[in-house]
Symmetry: D2
């Protein structure tokens, strides 16, 4: 299996984290899936991803003190593999795991994904539970000093231990059986621990063996640019930023991050700008809030993610989607860039603005994105010589957010709102 064929264009979907934190349940996941199938699927959205701690009892119940309750009960099978907690995922009862939920999602014409943490449950290591297909037990492969510094659930794995690859194989085999299409593996992308690099390779091998085309997504960022080749060889997407939230101080550095990774976007290989924190957010974090980005900043985010071709995972409760946000997520001409553009390059950037270009691979047009990084509106001078050096020569344009047609002949500069963006298709 060529892993680059598992995700030929950047994955698009929904993820439970930004709204539910650890506490999402089966009904909520289904409701979001139904919404997607009915309203978003036609625009390319297809993944439904259950994020962190679906295996944990009482997840979210001590939120004031802990995001992840340490040393707490988790659902686990006899082979040291975590299972969905039936408190929140009743269809998982009788050892069915995520099979029934995956079936439901598939029945809507969508794909199903889950989050996992690198490693093996601490509970398993202390209990010396079995590993499928070997004589080793969890304590043999768990490394007591190899931990995640923000989540207490797992021990990292000794890559050289007998049973190590088998454990990851047993996980992917189970997920394939359930019908999982997408794995977001956490505590691995930033390579905080020295074994992380090897564990990425083990995950890759396990997917190759499992017989199912499972997309492999790595978190959290920032990924290490000096390991670009490694990510490209073994994974489909990798986070290039730490958790991204709805504030300008998170959005501004993304221009630098995309600059850094722009040459590393290709079929099956997608540097990942993280989820889209739009609409209603944060209910599981304590109290629901409305996305704090201005409308212009939301346009900026989606323009950058689109032209850069980041994967897009919506982080909101879809059933509460407002019209404005929905309009952003259903602009076919913008979303087309994820599927049909290529070779995006930043052609200019300073503290005040950024300019990007890319080419449409099908209709022989070009794209030009202008970003105003300052608070006040300004006219950005278009560097036409560089646009032409890039290979775009057309003189007719259409701004894709407004739909406005623009005659570019002699057009020296374009007005862009503060923290806003213009995305122009050029014929």
């Amino acid at each position: 299996m060529n892993k680059n064929k598992f995700a030929i264009t950047p994955p698009m979907g929904w993820n439970s984290y930004d709204y539910y934190d650890t506490a999402v349940n089966e009904e909520q996941v289904k409701a979001n899936a139904r919404y997607m199938a009915e309203n978003l699927k036609e625009f390319g959205w297809e993944y439904i991803v259950v994020d962190i701690e679906w295996y944990a009892y009482d997840a979210g119940s001590q939120r004031k003190q802990y995001q992840y309750i340490p040393f707490w009960k988790v659902e686990m099978d006899e082979y040291s593999r975590l299972l969905p907690c039936v408190q929140r995922f009743p269809s998982a009862k009788d050892g069915k795991g995520f099979g029934p939920l995956a079936d439901y999602v598939h029945s809507l014409g969508l794909k199903f994904g889950i989050h996992i943490m690198r490693g093996i449950p601490r509970e398993a290591a202390h209990a010396h539970t079995k590993i499928l297909g070997t004589n080793a037990t969890a304590n043999d492969i768990a490394d007591p000093a190899n931990i995640c510094d923000w989540n207490p659930d797992m021990y990292g794995i000794r890559p050289d231990a007998e049973g190590a690859q088998e454990y990851y194989d047993s996980l992917m085999s189970l997920y394939a059986e359930w019908g999982v299409d997408f794995i977001k593996c956490d505590d691995i992308c930033r390579m905080d621990m020295p074994t992380a690099k090897k564990e990425i390779e083990m995950l890759y091998q396990a997917i190759q063996k499992c017989g199912r085309e499972i997309v492999l997504s790595l978190s959290p960022g920032p990924a290490k640019i000096e390991e670009a080749w490694h990510y490209e060889t073994y994974a489909n997407m990798w986070r290039i930023t730490d958790d991204f939230w709805d504030s300008w101080k998170h959005l501004l550095p993304m221009f630098w991050r995309c600059e850094l990774w722009q040459n590393h976007v290709s079929e099956g290989c997608f540097p990942d700008c993280d989820m889209l924190p739009l609409g209603k957010l944060g209910m599981g974090f304590g109290e629901e809030w409305e996305c704090k980005f201005t409308k212009e900043e939301q346009v900026t985010m989606l323009t950058l993610w689109s032209i850069f071709r980041s994967p897009m995972m919506i982080g909101t409760e879809l059933t509460k989607l407002d019209d404005w946000t929905k309009s952003l997520l259903t602009n076919a001409e913008v979303l087309r860039l994820l599927k049909y553009s290529n070779g995006a390059r930043q052609i200019e950037r300073d503290d005040k603005h950024a300019v990007w270009c890319s080419m449409d691979t099908e209709d022989n047009t070009g794209y030009l994105a202008l970003f105003n990084l300052e608070e006040d509106k300004t006219t950005i001078c278009v560097p036409w010589n560089r646009v032409e050096d890039y290979g775009i020569y057309g003189k007719k344009g259409k701004e894709l957010w407004s739909g406005e047609e623009i005659d570019l002949t002699g057009k020296e500069s374009i007005l862009v709102p503060g923290h806003g963006a213009k995305l122009i298709k050029i014929y």
Copy 2:
């Protein structure tokens, strides 16, 4: 209680680690104590210290793979406190802990010490066991990301959690009950984890409350010089080097380390050069070996430790002590420096040699130590002007290892063997 009165001069004793690693047992401890009482006590040696993992089942049994078997059975009471493993310490049965062994050591006129790891047993955290005197349980005070990177037994403690100070109080209360005189707390001195500094303070408070004058020794090094005041305020001795072993590449940097800490030696406050790896060593590490230092290097080590006034803990099986090594450990005129000298200062050092001075606080004499840091013997030019600036004016000398009297009048230089030392008392 003024902690500086617990150890007015540098502690002297024996420690099980260098010979037994994790695997020492009660009979072996007793045999070493008897030897000390009969042969060494009169020279000031008095502490018998049981080092790491006295609580661990099967300690040392998987030595080829693990120094410390992870996720393994430990002896623990209902209050999350480790107890001696009865496999190796039968007198600890029926919950008597180290009481009987401490009594035995005391009966010989000696003092009894134990090693502990910073934190609370991982086993306790996962089992939610109780903490004496509070409603908190072990999982409430254990921090899942606060671990030791070389030993798997414990979790560090959240200093602000309810029950944290109480847990350390309960430990010291138990140790005081047993009759412990000396605690070597490990994984704390180097402050690898951010809570270590607070945990040192908690140990100090716990000792103050326990009613027994327990000497507090911190490991492993190197201690942080920028925390000198903290160590001086809360502890009695602190390691200024990582584990010290019998090779010149370990010994040479001690001159720099002692230079760094020379102004920080005072009553109750002793920078610690680590144990003396002399005689037979390493049986518990796989195979017994003979100390790899040359005789001259052994003299150098003891001269430096003496004039600097490091604590001295012998790391060998005492019952196998050879005559040469014994002669080093029973040279009263040399060991006198630990008790009666003060204000040691390096007065010269380069890549080839080092010179130290100190004053005897009782008999109005001075000490001069000359160290040859090169492989070949050489005559070291005595910097008399600096010796006098230091305050030593006498002209009669006695070299304390050989007993040779020296007329220092007009003596410009002194022959010192390669890697060797001369220690001269000056009248």
Copy 3:
């Protein structure tokens, strides 16, 4: 001017440094140029580059103490611009600079390049000499703390000072007048000093203004991968390693360096593996030596440089070229990769071997390079699945160093000598 058109494929030429150090003279440069014109030009070699300190009096005369004699006389015009030292470049007399030498090189159908150091001569700053086209003098734009830590000739420039851009403009204007085709700017690529990034931009602007298509090469490396976009925007080639010499410990890390930069090779943008230290070397460094690479290592170097598409600058005295080395530098089928291949990617690498692929852009073939990183010969298992995933499906092969035809059907592995390489064209 689109700088990417100045060097559509990786520059190929000769550089004086590896053989002459600072001390090359006009006759020697001419002799090498003649050799190139007669023997190498037809294979694509075209640049003749005079390396460091062509302006310095007595260069090389105190070689035992100094590579670069500090505070020594340099040739300089009234506008603070360095000129060729007439001691070694007699044709430069009467202010003609490198004009006559450039003319000579051009007359042979070749291109002419020179090395410069970032900044303005220290001599100029202390003498307050003029800057062409401004009222500022050298002391106004020189920054006294902005120096090169290995060469004493220059001060870096304050980018914001009046006269700063004008100084670089005046340099490029002079070089354009002389007929320079290639500038190797040193002390700039690694961005050791904070102004280096701005000085690269100033060089770019000066070249744009000068009216001549001058290729801009940046040294020394390693370039910073996180500044990839900056190099791509403003320069033509940038060193990805510190000075490269003829030893395996220099060659081995190039696999990692090429891995790091593989996605950053494109028209006009070439990560630079540094000069080829082949044949006779080092005369100016003290005593001439023969290239210390084994023949296999030389093949490895040229194979990697070729498939990666590094610029190639020969670092030897060409008139002394032996047959073997000449055969390496005139293998048209190998050198074709610089001109007609594209998209090189490493598809496998571990401690023992590396495998690269690229596509020929003209004849629809692929290239496969196998590298044995160990000392002993070994058969490298060809990862055909990855070769196919890359897009190469042919079954007929030709090894380009030996000329041997290979039937790849069912060919699982290929024998490669220790530290050697096989470069296979696949039909």
Copy 4:
């Protein structure tokens, strides 16, 4: 000569920098000396120190752009030694240097000091001027890459070059001839450049040879605690902070810095908290301002400097001294601590307060300093157990700033103003 006898207690004096920056002149120095002789000498103040760039022409004349004008004219003798600029020091004419000014200062019963920069003038290196007593010239010993990053005047010296020690010898010989009593050597204490450590040793040797007891003061800080022994061996005082100015954000960290260095204060060895920025300040920096410390903060500074026993150099124009500031600088009971106290130790410190103790070496009393590090006044609980552990048992007290007598019997806490201090002498 024993350098520890040059300054048995911490030097006290005046320094031109805080008020005049680079631009002080002879008349101003004399006026300050006269004021000191008449008003402050009886309280122990005795040094008059001319700070940076007394050799520079036009110093201060381009203050908006440069603190130190680069590449500018300096006064220098034929032996590469800087001389006072006669623009500002007319008595230096005819090669008399600072001799006449030193004589004047001595005639008032005071001592005379000057600032120097580490190294040899850049001007000398470029001009190849002579070095007294050798055949070497300045370019032979100057290191072109060894510079100060904030001042452009000098090149550091190659310690191994012939002529290096001779140059420093020639400086000290000249200064001794002038009658200099105190050298503040800058760009050396922090050891920014690798030769700094050796240059300190060279300065020490030069002073030993010059025949005059010249106090050696090293700047700027922070000094490196791991080099404590080196400073103690070769210098009299060394800055433990970067430039100290009149703001709480500078004062607060001094508690941590003094904690760090408290064990390193002894006869002839004084960690230096830097000048006292009191009264009127900054005229040479652009515009005169009034000390921005609150009165309480000034008391805190002087209390800490006194009990810690930092050297004290007043940084103001003395002739403009107001009554309040003068009262601080003439409190004999407080200043007594510099002369007659010893062994100061911090006995308690947290984010809110600090407590220090020291002993008077003559009258058998103790000192207790309480510092309130918060903005609001508070009662600080006196840790009597630690005061007693330190060795202070008296029950009668006198607060030395107010003169108030305090009965300490049963006194549990003492009210201290926000950012203020109480300094209590205890009988």
